[in-house]
Structures are given as C-alpha cells and as structure tokens.
Amino acid sequence: MDLFNLPRRDWITFGLFALVVVTMPIWLTPLGASYPGLLQKFAIFAIFAIGFNILFGLTGYLSFGHAAFLGVGSYTAVWSFKLLTMDALPAIMFAVIVSGLFALVIGYLSLRRTGIYFSILTLAFAQMCYNLAYSVLTPITNGETSLQLTLQDPRVIDSALAARPEGLPSASIFGHVFDGFEGFYFCAALLLIAFFIALKIFSSPFGMMLRAIKSNQTRMNYTGFDTKPYALTAFVISGMYAGLAGALLAVTDPLAGAERMQWTASGEVVLMTILGGVGTLIGPVIGAWLIKYFENIFSAFNEQVLTRFFSFLPPEITEPVVTISSKFVGEGWHLTLGLIFVLVVVFLPGGIMEGVRRIGALFRRTTPPSAPAARPAAPTIQPAE
C-alpha cells in the first residue's frame, strides 16, 4: 500500500522514535520531568516544531508568525468544546481545518515575497492577529482573561446525548476523560502520526521539490515547476501542524489565551528548530524538548535543590558552587538558555543533530571508509583525443 511505502531506513527511524516517545515517562523520571503536564508539552511542542521544520527546513522560507496558527487552533478547539462537545476529536479536526484555512490566506499573500520580506510579512500578520485578539476580537477571544469553559456553554451535542454534569467538564475521547498519563499518550499518539507524515514528506518526491526550492528557486522555474503552489502547500501543511499543536494545548487544558500568538512564541519555535538542526527530522523535536525542559525544570530549581544536588562535595565548596549555579537556574534559567544558544551555534553549526552526526562519524571512522569519491570515474564517453 502506498500509504506505508517507506524505505527501510525510515521505518527504523520511525521505530526508534516511537520507542523513545512511548518510554518517555520512564527515562525522564531520573531527570525529574516525568509528570503528565510537562510530558504533554513535550509532545505538543514537538508537533509544532516538526510542522515548522516542514516549511523552514525544506523550503527555506523562514516564517516569523507561526504562533498565530497555534493560537487559532487553540481558540477553535475551545469553541468546539463550548458549542458542540467535550470530545477531543472534533475539536482537533476543526482546529486543523481552520488553521489550515488561515495558513492558506496568510501564506498566499506572504509567499508573494521571499527572504526577509516574507519573514516580516508573516510576523506582521501574526502580530495583527495577536493585537486584535486582545482588542477588537474580544467577543471571540475573551481578551486578556483568555477563552475558557463556562457553565452556560451550550455544548449542543453533549447536552443532547446526556444530562449535563455538575461543574466544568474536561476534554474526553468517546466519553472517556483523560486521567494521569492518558493525556500524554493521546498527545504522543498524535505526535507519532505527525512524525510519520513528516517522514513521508521528507522521503517523497514532493519533499525533494521543496528542498530544490530552497536550493535554487530560479532553476526550479526553468525546470518546469510552478514553485508557488509547492511553497504554499508546505506553508499550509505546517500551519495545520501548528493548529494541531494548538488544539492539543486546549485539549490538555481547555483554555486559550492570546499570548500564545505573540511573536515571542513564534520566535520560540524558530529557536527550537535551529537549536535542534534545521532540515533534519529529529532535530526540531530535540530542540523543542530541550527548550521546554529548561523552561519547566530549570526554572523550578532553587537553592535547596542545588544544595541537595551538590551535597557530595565538601561543605566548604558547596556553598560557593550553589551560589554561582543558582544564578543559572530558577529566575535565571533564561541565562542558561541564552548561553546554550550561543555555545551550540558557535561549536555546532547545524544544531544538535550536527553534533550527533559528528559523534556518529567518529565511531564510523574505525571501520574502513566506503567513500564513493575515492573511486575514479569511468565515463562512458571517452575523450576524443
């Protein structure tokens, strides 16, 4: 079947990735990150970054307004909860469709320009969405208080099927409310689907066309390709990924605020992607996990935790070490993040995946090289002289 037509290499990648994702609650326990709230964020922002990378990594178009689609997805999902049903699937479906339509309009206009002009156009559209969500669109977005569920929500479908429960309901799937790690596994399942689609795109002729656009757009045109619809398709797909991520944010916590659309949120996904490795499949996921880990874990460290952590040191050293390292955690986690950006980009151009590749190459050097370059070319047309 064509749907599952993938080279062996990609199936191995997918299998390993699935294994890593499914066992996250286990291997993140020693790192102190194995609680559902954070794991869900890991899965959701991985989806966001994978989608962003389909646009930026493959076509080279750097969008600075992708958070807008995330926000639109969240709002759509919450509205689906409010008006129709607490079931997660319709909410996700609507969110993906609506953010896809948004991406179609914004992409159509923005893709008329290239390079930094494109980036600023996307930024401008996203900032307009953000500012309007806070001001004129408050009937839809509920402004600064964020869009939330209320007891007065109609929830047409749920009301028709069953008696209204007491209090505010939670998101569910076929009537089953998420509990404990179930929410994470739901997000993880969608992450795997999203990753699989990304794999398909990366290994398909369509993916090669997108890479070719990044490589030399002029050549693409003279080769007989209409590059606009290619880039637009990539834009819409990555907008839908963002919408999916936004919907999942709303599923795990039925609340949508405009700050999700701010440029800092767009910038964050750009940084995740570059940090992990632009154009690689796994890189953006690693970048997303790393940034979210720092945001949630490092910021929660305090001196007590550090003192415990460094308790193996002699007591006279412990105190200065704790004092110094406390500047980098808690309130200061941004400092660590900034330093990581600088260090990664100085020492590992190409992101973390470049580092992984280099380590892999080190190991491979022990086996004899099988470089095809070493062999002399044997052209079928011999020189005439």
């Binding site: 070719a212 080769t223 007989g224 398709t233």
Partner: protein
C-alpha cells in the same frame, strides 16, 4: 536572446513563436512545459541535492507537470525515473558520482550535469548558452562528442557559441549576429566564406548562433 525565449526578459518588440504558439509573456515554467529547455552559461543547479536528485527533479516536471503533491510514494520507489536518470548520468559520465552533493562538483561537471538535467526532459527545443565556455580543450571535446551523440537522437538545439571549433564541428545551420542583427545565415560552408562574417570575426565583438538538426 535566450533570456527572451525562456521568458526571463521581455522583448522590446516582436514576439517569440515556437511550434505555432506564442512564448512571449508566458512564465518560465510554462515555457519549459511546452518543451523549450535551456542550459545556462553559469551552471544553474541545486547545490544541496545529490547529483542523482538533480537529474531526477526535471524528470518529475516532465512526468507530473508543473505542480503535483506527490507524497504517497517515496523517492526510492520511483524506479522508472531513477533508472532513466542513471542512464543519462552514464551518458554524461557522472554515473559514478551520482550520490555526491552537486555543489561539490567541478564547474565542468556541473555543466555536464545541467545538460543531463535538460536531456532527461526530452526537450523539443534545447537552448545551449556557450556550453564549452571556460572549459579545457579536453572537456570541450568531451562535450562536443556528447552533443554529437544527442544530435543523432534528433532533437532541435540552438547553441550560442563563439568558439569556432565547437560551432563548425556541430552546426547544420549557422546564423551570425553582430550588433543585434543577423549578418549571415545558412550552411556552415557558406557562412565560413561570407565576407561580412570574416570582417566581424576579425573586428572583435561578435557572436555566432547556430541551429543543428
């Protein structure tokens, strides 16, 4: 002039007509889809892709048209196109290096690869802009042999060239341009004898254009 044909520049007056259809005002990808394909003087390739992918991409344009979302099948399972690309890469002598990054090729190899990229589309009209400019004698001869081989397959080519050795070893019909006007036209034998050509040829700025069948 080639820039006008392929739609990069607009003509100041007049129109480009190919096979009864007006090319003027059409977009570059539309002109390509009509079977008019060009090799650039400075190689226009996809440096980040492999040599094989560089040659496969145009084949998709020929098969699938200007736009098609083709994500169901993987690149590896497009056997037909890959085989055709391999075949043409053997013709131009780049088969051994098909998995290399195209950006890492030498300039002469890049031009041969670009030629392969055009040939895989089986163009009805192939435009070549100084295909041997800046090449060593050895590479020039390799290229001439290659072009002769293509000629045998019967495809119309327009070559812009001022290396007389190349022109006279390939051309069936030559047009000599000087100062934007055609000063001589016809079979190689007659053009060689033309006084005007001798004059322009010795005088400096000149270009020869030829068409082979």
């Amino acid at each position: 002039m080639l820039n006008v044909i392929i739609g990069r520049l607009a003509p100041s007056r007049g129109a480009v007509v190919f096979d009864g259809k007006v090319l003027t005002g059409k977009k570059p990808h539309q002109i390509n889809q009509m079977g008019v394909v060009r090799v650039f003087q400075t190689p226009e390739i996809f440096p980040e892709l492999s040599v094989l992918q560089n040659v496969m991409a145009p084949a998709f344009a020929k098969r699938d048209g200007a736009f098609r979302i083709n994500i169901w099948r993987s690149l590896e399972s497009e056997r037909g196109i890959e085989e055709e690309a391999n075949h043409i890469l053997q013709d131009v002598g780049l088969y051994e290096r098909r998995s290399h990054h195209a950006g890492a090729l030498s300039r002469g190899d890049k031009r041969r690869m670009e030629l392969a990229m055009c040939l895989i589309q089986h163009p009805r009209l192939l435009l070549l802009d100084e295909p041997t400019a800046g090449m060593s004698r050895h590479d020039t001869n390799t290229t001439i042999e290659l072009l002769k081989k293509i000629k045998a397959r019967g495809m119309t080519k327009v070559i812009i060239e001022h290396d007389m050795h190349v022109v006279f070893s390939l051309a069936d019909k030559i047009s000599v341009l000087a100062g934007g006007r055609i000063i001589a036209e016809g079979l190689p034998r007659r053009v060689r004898r033309s006084e005007k050509v001798q004059e322009a040829y010795l005088g400096g700025a000149h270009r020869l254009e030829e068409a082979t069948h």
